[in-house]
């Protein structure tokens, strides 16, 4: 064990963690909106809209994240026509390709989490709102959405942790995130165990923080308090 290497690589890895956190937070925010949008589509009675939303979540939950990144980064890069369009400004950058892949992936899972949360809301709550003469729109925004978000917290906490670990795939499209920098250090020191232990420790710590933060939110917005 080369402890000196572990100590020396720590600041570099910590620096790279900022990129990991940036990838995670940006894709989670975009993914949350995508997820909410598709969850609402899933509740729509129209068969076509419903099927469309189901198809989206089916495809992105049914294929590996790595494959999705490769298709978006290397696959779309192969299409010559695309390179002459405005989309290339975004797709040229590995950062945005990774964000698009992550956001679409977490959006698919989030839509499923939110959909099931919407469906568990007791009809009585909505009826109570209606009997008070509250409009459907306000019932949706002030009753259904807050309850659904609260209901989905435990599952969504897991999704955040899965996504955090998923960001390590950004290194496959040349981004220097935590895993990318770890691999870079290994490429010059040839000591994978030491470096990956430190990188793993940082991932574990992030999981610890996310886990406890979600737990705190769960308690704070608990129905029983």
């Amino acid at each position: 064990m080369d402890f000196e290497l572990m100590v020396n690589s720590f600041p570099k890895l910590l620096n790279a963690t900022l990129i990991t956190l940036k990838l995670l937070s940006v894709s989670l925010i975009i993914g949350l909106f995508i997820g909410l949008f598709f969850a609402i589509l899933r509740l729509n009675k129209n068969v076509f809209i419903n099927r469309f939303a189901y198809g989206y979540s089916y495809i992105f939950r049914g294929t590996p994240l790595l494959v999705q990144i490769f298709i978006i980064y290397f696959g779309l890069g192969q299409i010559e026509y695309l390179r002459s369009t405005i989309f290339w400004v975004i797709l040229k950058e590995p950062y945005w390709c990774a964000i698009i892949a992550f956001a679409l992936n977490t959006g698919a899972y989030t839509s499923e989490i939110l959909r099931s949360a919407f469906q568990t809301i007791k009809p009585g709550l909505i009826e109570a709102g209606k009997s008070l003469g509250i409009s459907n729109k306000i019932i949706f925004y002030k009753i259904q959405i807050p309850i659904a978000i609260r209901q989905s917290l435990p599952a969504y906490g897991n999704e955040i942790i899965l996504m955090m670990k998923g960001t390590s795939l950004a290194s496959t499209v040349t981004l220097m995130d935590l895993t990318g920098v770890a691999k870079y250090i290994i490429s010059t020191t040839f000591k994978p165990i030491e470096v990956f232990i430190v990188a793993g420790g940082i991932y574990l710590f992030m999981t610890f923080v996310i886990h406890n933060f979600v737990k705190f939110l769960e308690k704070k917005y608990s129905f029983n308090s």
């Binding site: 290397f74 890069g77 192969q78 390179r83 040229k92 590995p94 496959t172 040349t174 691999k183 870079y184 290994i186 490429s187 010059t188 040839f190 000591k191 994978p192």
Partner: protein, 275 residues
């Protein structure tokens, strides 16, 4: 002794036997993704200059060999962790790598070059045909200066953990944006897509790609050798494995003398890259 204990002992004992059987065989690790040095055919079989050379060297050593595949970025760690006994993967002999492993004498050498897409502003740089960086002369220094100016702010793509990455990181050509990829295939893809302004690798890696893909990839600037680019390609062997190192060195001597290395190199590279 109960059955559980017995089965564990049997298992461990069988491991011991398997270990002994393997000790007679030399396991050689290669990447299988760096044509024409080493690659795979459609059937997934390993082919290329080094695969054929490995069989030839093993014949001279009078040993049985197996060739196994290993991703490039884990090549040296895998050797150290005894996943195989020797590396033949187009790996140049550099001072940095020699800190971790030993190398046999070089068996082949081949220059590196920048590549761009036809029509790029970096095409046709005004530099000498080739520069050696071990003791850079005035021409070489001038060429590095030209490159520093031309590459400023450009994205140059390389395979990770290569001499090409080391060269760009060394700052000899100033502050270029270096993007690293797991395989040379991916470097080629992104060069063709326009995400990379230029790419740096073995010159043959680009000509091989241009030929097979039909993409207008052209070489530009000088060819590089020496310095960060190392001193030829050799067999990587664990430090302390002197016996194996010596037998590889002897086998390379014999293969060179009999013209085997030249013959195999000419077959795969189209020119004699042996040394």
């Amino acid at each position: 002794m109960n059955i559980f204990k017995k089965s564990i002992f049997t298992f461990l004992f069988s491991l011991l036997i398997i270990g002994n059987v393997n000790a007679d065989k030399i396991k050689i690790g290669t990447e299988g993704a760096y044509p024409p040095w080493n690659s795979k055919n459609e059937a997934g079989k390993l082919i290329g200059f080094e695969v054929e050379l490995a069989w030839s060297l093993c014949r001279y050593m009078g040993k049985q060999c197996t060739i196994v595949e290993q991703d490039w970025d884990g090549m040296i760690p895998a050797l150290i962790m005894r996943k195989f006994d020797a590396i033949m993967a187009g790996m140049s002999i550099t001072a940095e790598r020699q800190k971790a492993i030993s190398f046999s004498q070089g068996y082949a050498d081949e220059v590196a070059s920048l590549a761009v897409m036809k029509g790029s502003s970096l095409e046709g740089l005004n530099t000498p045909a080739g520069i050696n960086l071990t003791k850079p002369n005035s021409d070489a220094k001038k060429a590095l200066k030209t490159l520093t100016g031309a590459l400023a702010g450009k994205t140059v793509c390389v395979q990770t953990a290569t001499i090409h990455q080391n060269f760009l990181d060394s700052g000899d050509v100033g502050n270029v944006k270096v993007r690293t990829y797991k395989t040379q295939d991916e470097v080629n893809l992104d060069l063709a897509s326009g995400r990379c302004d230029a790419a740096l690798a073995a010159a043959v890696a680009f000509s091989d790609y241009a030929e097979k893909s039909g993409k207008p990839v052209v070489l530009t600037g000088p060819t590089f050798s020496g310095g960060a680019f190392g001193n030829g390609v050799g067999v990587g062997i664990r430090k302390g494995d002197t016996e194996l190192l010596n037998s590889f060195n002897k086998a390379i001597d014999k293969a060179r003398k009999n013209g085997d290395i030249s013959r195999i190199a000419t077959k795969w590279f189209g020119f004699d890259a042996s040394m």
